[in-house]
Symmetry: C2
Subunit: 481 residues, 2 copies
């Protein structure tokens, strides 16, 4: 019964209605075309039907939240998407663009000319324009720049000057600053005169004459204070705040840890530049984790499922290329042992088990270490203990699963030494996996790199080649005569 | 310069200080024990040193935010963790428990008796108690229940009655309700009398005589309204709200989409039960995505990196078991072709390439489909188009990478037919991967299951066995005499 549940259903309904409208129209167009394309009457019919449908659609779209319009556009195939996009009222364009995923945004921007793009950003705040700017053609950015007043230009310049993963890149400039020597009553009167407060305002920023941060005044405190109280006496004097060139990831974690809604952003001398809001942090957290998931799945970035083939090819090629190289390395390890395999073909059937299970052990360990490193730095004692623990685990798991595999191998091939080699190889590959699954992320973190990036690909490549080498090597040492 | 950056450094410093303190103490204890354990003087020295260190630590901990204490505890090995945990002031215990990860929380709760657990929850709200309750022993829950007043008992009962993934399970009960026929002035006076507003209050809930939701009054609107305005005339009449038995995931998405801070939770007749807050939604989003990442890495749940071996073994065993079965299936496919391999050993070296690259293609496609399904339901037209697109992509990629592999194979083995078989097998396995990577998540979603769960394991198993079968099958058809 809730709004949201309605919304989710509604969106589905809207999309199928839109589908139907566009299908019906195409049908009419086809009929008209088949009978007599030049016939004036059919042309009129076509136009009428067309207009009627588009008017109905346009009316529908006007009542929908921009975030939902964005979702509908993402759910439509490209051709329909552009028809619908044309119908979206231009004062909503900018908001919708902000809400769409990168891949879909690109397709929408491609369909707009400079004039439309400039118009679309008219309703947006400077921080929102800054978010869109990297995706816009240069001409549009210049056009937008001309529509801004000097203060907004300075804000846009500032927002664009910070690298993508810094606090400055995601701050906005809508805040209410007050002085500490005024009373609650004065503040309340001041707010009333503003008529509207920025979204998400949960606190006012208290600044001195030079606009330097002195504290914050939560609205919750303001509302329960006496009219004659001074701002200075009720404000929080050392609030959580961030510097514009600080890491966005640290800020997002602080928002999560301390349950913040907004926080002031200052420069190195304490001058208040803007603020961070929780909704920007939520978006950032989601984007980051989505990117990680995509790269784990072997994709470079999110794909518009209706995008042309060529885009998808480009997105997927890099990891396939990496995979080709690692697969060739593993293959060349095997071909070193072709003589061994030709003497005992069972080895060919068993070697993928050693490699595959080693990969699983390596991925388990590396996932765990990467997660631990994301939350806490590890001391050298911690690392020593981790090696000890992970290698012990690998040994126990190796002997346990190795023994099971030895039994299965013996049952299948009636060859006891083969079973023993199997068990030895599984155990050794597990230990190799554990050692490198600790070493790789710890080393990457020490060198200041992201420990997560490509970790799964790397450990899998090592356990594949390593597993083949250990298993076939042991086999040629102990099983051949 | 920001607070947060200070915090992160501070935490690291604190942890190493704590390490040092505890190390020094252990050293003294050892010295004392070595000289003469029974000697009364050494006993006094030991006690003194011990007390001195603990007092210093305790004083330090008192000044730290509960969320940071939780982080410090997570960074300490078990033995040190429990020493430090003992020193945390009992009025902070509950907050700290709320902030720790499940794995670490378990180790802390184990170290507490019923009396301590009941005391720990004294400072918590009922919704927070409800969060902890599943992890507490029954006796502690009963003890806590006795300390609550009837209203709180009813709230706890209510919160515990909703399944884990529903809105009701994460709502809290701290809200301020007002009537629509009162004036802004009356509301402001009422708020002032409350002295303190619930955390994150960004809007008041407007209810009728039966406590049914009529609208919401954002503080931002309240603050800019005239004292004589009626609540009814300035409130939002149809606010976003959720039903207690609605899906938490839908609510979290709505919070993200519509940038909500708080929202009312109602029962089926519109009676206001509680509210959702953005910080609870952020926690939920993070937990969910972490769980997904862990399961992709082959882990069941988050591990405390200092946990005893037995816990880790239990966490990792299930996926290793699944992996054992899929590896054995792939192995038995290979052993069907032992005759073929014994005639042409190069096949053993090449087959993992076919299987591995197929797995990569399958994982790329399935990741993309799972992500698309998470955002939008797919119509049957969409699915048809997706099959067409993914299979085309697989064909193009298969021919492209297959041709590259054919050339490499030819250079390595001087065997043209082998190269052709390689190319054919890669292409076919890519197509198989694409077909099933679309089918599996779409079918799971149609059956109402989570399309993500185990998707990577399943597609990899199929491309392994399928790849071996296709490559070795083609080889026995075309390469053997």
């Amino acid at each position: 019964m809730s709004e949201q549940q309605h919304s989710a259903e509604h969106i589905r309904e809207w999309v199928s209605e839109i589908h139907e409208l566009l299908e019906r129209q195409r049908l009419v167009e086809q009929l008209v075309a088949r009978e007599d394309a030049a016939d004036e009457r059919s042309l009129i019919v076509e136009n009428m039907v067309h207009k009627q449908h588009l008017v109905a659609l346009s009316a529908k779209l006007e009542k929908i939240h921009p975030a939902d319009v964005a979702r509908i556009l993402e759910m439509l195939p490209r051709k329909d998407r552009l028809i619908v996009w044309d119908l979206v009222k231009s004062d909503m364009d900018g908001e919708v663009l902000l809400e769409t995923s990168d891949a879909v945004r690109e397709s929408l921007i491609e369909a707009m000319d400079t004039h439309e793009l400039v118009a679309a950003t008219e309703q947006l705040d400077t921080d929102e324009i800054a978010d869109l700017a990297p995706d816009l053609p240069d001409e549009a950015v210049q056009g937008i720049y001309k529509t801004l007043n000097p203060e907004e230009r300075e804000q846009l310049r500032l927002a664009l000057s910070y690298p993508e993963n810094t606090v400055g890149a995601r701050m906005d400039f809508e805040m209410v600053n007050v002085r500490e020597d005024v009373s609650v009553e004065v503040v309340l009167r001041y707010l009333r005169r503003l008529r509207v407060l920025p979204d998400h305002t949960d606190q006012l920023f208290v600044v001195d004459r030079d606009e330097r941060l002195r504290g914050v005044l939560p609205l919750n405190t303001l509302l329960v204070s006496q009219p004659e109280d001074d701002v200075g006496s009720i404000m929080l004097a050392s609030p959580k705040h961030f510097t514009a060139d600080g890491k966005l990831l640290d800020a997002a974690e602080a928002f999560e840890r301390y349950d913040l809604i907004t926080a002031p952003v200052v420069d190195e001398s304490g001058f208040v530049l803007g603020r961070l809001t929780v909704d920007a942090m939520v978006d950032f957290i989601k984007e980051r984790q989505e990117l990680e998931q995509l790269s784990q799945g072997g994709l470079r970035e999110e794909e518009d499922i209706f995008a042309p083939l060529s885009n998808s090819l480009k997105n997927r090629a890099p990891w396939l290329g990496v995979n080709l190289v690692t697969a060739l390395i593993a293959s060349s390890v095997i071909s070193m042992f072709e003589g061994t395999i030709s003497q005992l073909v069972a080895l060919a059937a068993l070697m993928p088990i050693v490699a595959g299970m080693g990969g699983n052990v390596g991925n388990q360990t590396i996932t765990m270490i990467v997660r631990a490193l994301a939350n806490n730095p590890l001391s050298s004692t911690d690392v020593r203990n981790l090696y000890l623990k992970e290698v012990s685990l690998a040994l126990i798991n190796g002997v346990m699963w190795g023994a099971a595999l030895a039994v299965i191998t013996f049952i299948m091939y009636k060859d006891l030494p083969l079973g023993v080699v199997m068990m030895l190889a599984v155990t050794l590959n597990f230990v190799l996996a554990a050692l490198l699954a600790v070493t790789i992320p710890v080393m990457r973190a020490r060198m200041g790199r992201d420990p997560a990036l490509g970790s799964s690909v790397m450990i899998t490549a090592i356990t594949d080649s390593g597993g083949f080498f250990i298993f076939l090597g042991l086999a040629s040492l102990f099983l051949l005569h």
